[in-house]
């Protein structure tokens, strides 16, 4: 069986809107997406903004960094960390977060939303 998924790219902001090595929250309809510009690695990441630990809309305000080569974000509330690539919780908890593809084109940042 084939599953076909199409990705809709949604324009989030300009590439210089984000603080370097930091994040910001993007509104997409009623959803909140945390967008990160990892300037040191010249990489962009997007995840859900809600931290699954206590359901706080806060990941975009978290600190980013790396564990080994894995880029991660730490929630400002209780410093649980999540991989920016897989969304897996790196602090030993069962929870994980959703991640989204990101692309930058012509000065704009786009977040990819999968169509069901």
């Amino acid at each position: 069986m084939f599953e076909s998924k199409t990705i809709t790219w949604f324009r989030a902001c300009r590439d210089n809107d984000l603080p370097s090595n930091g994040g910001a929250c993007v509104r997409f309809g009623n959803e909140q997406i945390a967008l990160f510009y990892f300037t040191r690695r010249n990489e962009w990441y997007a995840t859900q903004n809600e931290c699954p630990h206590r359901k706080q809309m806060a990941l975009s305000r978290g600190m980013i960094g790396s564990a080994g080569s894995e880029p991660k974000v730490a929630c400002p509330f209780h410093k649980k960390t999540f991989s920016l690539i897989t969304g897996e919780c790196l602090s030993g908890d069962e929870c994980s977060i959703k991640t989204y593809p990101v692309k930058v084109d012509n000065g704009y940042v786009y977040i990819g939303i999968e169509n069901e």
Binding site: D17, G22, R27, N30, M63, S66, A74, G92
Partner: protein
């Protein structure tokens, strides 16, 4: 081979987990029946549900774990009968299943004493998530509660009542003292007084005669005819092994319940086994998770051994020979632990008792007649030595000549702890929840290169159960690294292989000004949430530049990044500086007006100032513009920086005041405002020795004397309060400030990240005498430099909120949505409370 497990509780689950991992050839086809509607969850941490942990987080596995391990799981299916001769079982829905091996892991149920009225509404037991849901719902409309049972579980239930916001909770115990199975009279008397301080009402030697109320509980009547009125009751008076199924199938059970098993966990029917709380081994029911896990382990090994065709098995036969029942209570606020035989007495036993009524500590250790071996003991009020004592007892380590050292001075510290670790045998069980031994941990460090507690947790599972062994794992790891000749540096994190002090000096020598410069020059990788705040703090202490400048903003701890404390729900608090606690009526009015305009909750803080809570990120710059226009400044409540300098009213009004403590407090606060340090710093000035400003609990505190000021240092409130120590006496105002300058610069330069001054001093060789030598006698010859450096910091102070609102680039960051800057976070919600608002509770 078809294997059926009845019961999907903690032990049943652990059994499955161990079996699928060890059963490489997939000899066993596993079917599990569980009566509860959810897959196995962590009952041990059940109480955290009240403190906000979700049912999902308590689950022991992912939803698809059973599927992906080929385990057939039937939930909500209660097994009603076993036909041992036909080897079949039947569920309440009539589903019949056959087995080759049957494992009973039916656990236990709460023991319910037969008290008239027990069926009334508002009476609960405390065992499953459903019980918790019922309790939570009922607690919403209750103000008072009672818990029957003053043992481990009863006290946990009582703590849960506190978490649920019940105003008054009665604890009712039949025995003359609390936790009668674990601690002696002296211990329970102390425990009782501690719990009373927490607000519990305790009734011992009480027999409940009746639960009163018309359909719904209104109170309890005791056999001595006394009564109490309560809105709800939780019964937590012991457990009753669930052996009913085994009994009707003709399997041997004990006279006082429990399914009889032998060392192989086999019941009277050779194809049927029992493990966990339902199993009666050698006359004992083990009401804890760890012994159940051990049983699961033994059974897995034996089953695999039995099934290995040729008998050439890697799985040795194993026996369950009993389990140590030492326990530590997980109640917050009160440490209680007991291990081995806590009550041992008689001629062949020597007992050492330590009672410190000032600190509220009681410790008892029981030794063999020759004083060489530890038999058991009790700790109440301070259980810091529990892990080490437990290990000493379990591994029969020979005691030092003066065994009282084991429970005396905790400050004697690291060296003796290290020596203790080295003595432990390799098979010493460090984490009993996951049965991980010393050699497993050392192996993870030496062979698998785990050099952080997180890494050890991931690779061995040690410390992932109750978590009580985590400090010991850390010590064990450091000890192993040292023993391996790994130079254990006091490393900040994986990105900086040096201590904070080394980094501080290097940053200074190289004049580095931003996080990226520091990382490029002195570290590796991309940084993380540990090193970023450390480096930011060093940069601020050295150069005192606006912290959000030069792309340093995202290297700040997130409170610093938004110059405010983040709160439940994602709003922030606003705390303007009110030096010395002195404020004019006009300024009070401004605070009131602003709080009203932005709908903020206001509260007088414990630091003599006013906190406004619940501000939206977007509103922060607007609020601060108004505050600054009215002459306020940032209070740095969010920073690891100077917080408050409290004052008492002093000689201007007080009939005892020796000097003007308010003026001096304001001078001190204005001098050190904005000063960033390894941790926050607090101070106070009292006008006389009556000490109304509580200066002796501060990082530095000043008390007026007839001749000048006494300077105290390194006090701490918080979870481990410690009185400040006298550094110098009868100082004039100028000298006192010079000493404080030196003291603070010494601390800022040398302390570890997040070490308050008290912790810093505790680790300092030579203690207060050394510190006095450095600060007062200038033994390091640094005094002049430090005073100069401090003066530079004082001169370069600027209010960072003022700079933030004036700088459009920084101001822009105070919006929730980057693509809708005007909109506030729509998920923020408040509730009403006493004419103000509060943050909505988290799930």
């Amino acid at each position: 081979m078809k294997l059926v497990v009845i019961g999907n509780g903690m032990v049943g689950f652990k059994f499955c987990e161990k079996l699928v991992t060890a059963d490489h050839n997939q000899k066993f086809q596993i079917t599990v029946f569980g009566e509860e509607s959810r897959p196995a969850y962590d009952r041990v941490h059940l109480s955290e549900y009240f403190a906000g942990k979700s049912a999902k987080a308590l689950s022991l596995s992912d939803a698809d774990w059973y599927d992906s391990n080929n385990i057939e799981l039937h939930l909500g299916e209660s097994i009603r009968s076993i036909d041992a001769s036909a080897k079949t079982i039947t569920s309440h829905r009539g589903i019949m299943t056959c087995y080759d091996y049957l494992v009973l892991a039916t656990g236990s149920a709460a023991f319910i004493p037969s008290i008239p009225g027990i069926e009334k509404q508002g009476v609960f037991i405390y065992r499953t998530i459903e019980d918790l849901e019922l309790i939570t719902a009922w607690a919403k409309k209750s103000r008072t509660a009672a818990v029957i049972g003053g043992g481990l579980l009863g006290l946990e239930a009582a703590k849960a009542m506190l978490d649920l916001g019940i105003n008054q909770t009665h604890i009712i115990e039949f025995a003359p003292g609390l936790m009668p199975k674990q601690i002696d009279d002296q211990g329970s008397a102390l425990l009782q007084s501690k719990l009373e301080q927490l607000g519990f009402v305790i009734h011992t030697s009480k027999n409940t005669a009746e639960i009163s109320g018309d359909g719904r509980i209104t109170g309890l009547r005791f056999s001595d005819d006394s009564v109490i009125h309560v809105d709800m009751l939780v019964i937590s008076a012991g457990i009753k092994p669930r052996d009913e199924l085994a009994k009707t199938a003709g399997i041997a059970t004990g006279p006082r319940r429990g399914i009889v098993v032998n060392e192989k966990l086999q019941t009277s029917d050779p194809a049927i086994f029992a493990i966990g709380e339902c199993a009666l081994h050698n006359g004992m029911i083990y009401g804890l998770a760890a012994p159940g896990y051990e049983m699961a382990d033994v059974l897995v090994r034996n089953l695999l051994h039995q099934e290995s065709a040729s008998g050439i098995s890697q799985n040795q036969e194993a026996e369950f020979t009993g389990f140590d029942m030492s326990t530590k209570l997980k109640l917050i606020g009160v440490d209680v632990a007991s291990f081995g035989d806590p009550f041992a007495a008689g001629e062949s036993v020597k007992t050492i008792r330590l009672q410190d009524t000032v600190r509220g500590v009681y410790k008892r250790i029981n030794l063999s007649a020759d004083g060489k071996q530890l038999i058991g003991g009790i700790l109440v009020g301070d259980a810091e030595q529990y892990n080490m004592l437990l290990q000493t007892y379990k591994n029969k380590l020979v005691l030092p000549d003066d065994p009282s050292a084991l429970i005396l001075g905790t400050r004697s510290g690291p060296e003796s702890a290290e020596a203790g670790l080295a003595c432990l045998p390799d098979d010493a069980l460090i984490c009993s929840c996951e049965s991980i031994s010393k050699s497993d941990i050392c192996g993870a460090v030496s062979e698998l290169g785990c050099e952080s507690v997180e890494a050890i947790k991931k690779c061995t599972k040690a410390g992932t159960g109750c978590g009580g062994c985590v400090p010991m794992i850390k010590d064990m790891m450091l000890h192993t690294m040292k023993a391996n000749g790994r130079y254990v540096r006091n490393m900040i994190c994986e990105h900086f292989a040096c201590s904070r002090q080394e980094l501080f000096d290097l940053v200074k020598i190289h004049s580095l000004k931003t996080f990226d410069e520091v990382l490029d020059a002195l570290g590796k990788g991309d940084g993380c949430e540990i090193c970023k705040p450390v480096v930011s703090s060093i940069l601020a202490s050295l150069w005192n530049e606006m912290i959000l400048k030069k792309s340093n903003s995202t290297a700040q701890d997130s409170n610093d990044r938004f110059l405010a404390n983040i709160q439940k729900g994602g709003t922030y608090s606003v705390v303007p500086r009110i030096p010395g606690g002195e404020i004019t009526p006009d300024k009070l009015i401004v605070i009131g007006q602003i709080a009203k305009q932005y709908n903020l909750y206001t509260k007088i803080t414990g630091g003599q100032r006013i906190d406004m809570f619940g501000a939206h990120l977007n509103d922060l710059p607007l609020i601060w513009s108004q505050l600054i226009a009215a002459g306020f400044e940032s209070g740095h409540a969010y920073g690891k920086a100077l917080r408050t300098v409290k004052s008492c009213v002093g000689s201007t009004w007080c009939r005892f005041g020796l000097h003007d403590s308010v003026s001096y407090a304001i001078r001190i606060e204005e001098r050190y405002r904005g000063l960033r340090a390894p941790h926050k710093i607090k101070s106070a000035v009292s006008g006389c020795i009556r000490e109304c400003a509580e200066a002796q609990s501060k990082d530095f505190g000043i008390i007026a004397t007839e001749k000048g000021w006494n300077l105290y240092v390194c006090g701490n409130g918080g979870s481990k309060p410690q009185h400040a120590l006298l550094l110098a006496t009868d100082l004039d105002s100028e000298t006192c400030i010079r000493y404080i300058d030196r003291f603070l610069m010494f601390y800022i330069r040398t302390a570890d990240p997040l070490a308050r001054t008290a912790t810093w001093l505790n680790k300092m060789e030579g203690g207060i005498d050394y510190l006095r030598n450095v600060v007062v006698n200038d033994s390091l010859g640094m005094a002049e430099i430090w005073e100069k450096e401090m003066q530079l910091l004082v001169d370069s102070y600027a209010c960072e909120w003022k700079e933030a609102i004036e700088n459009p680039e920084i101001r822009k960051r105070f919006s929730h949505f980057i693509n809708a800057p005007e909109e506030k976070d729509p998920t923020v919600h408040f509730e009403n409370l006493r004419d103000q608002k509060k943050a909505r509770d988290w799930k």
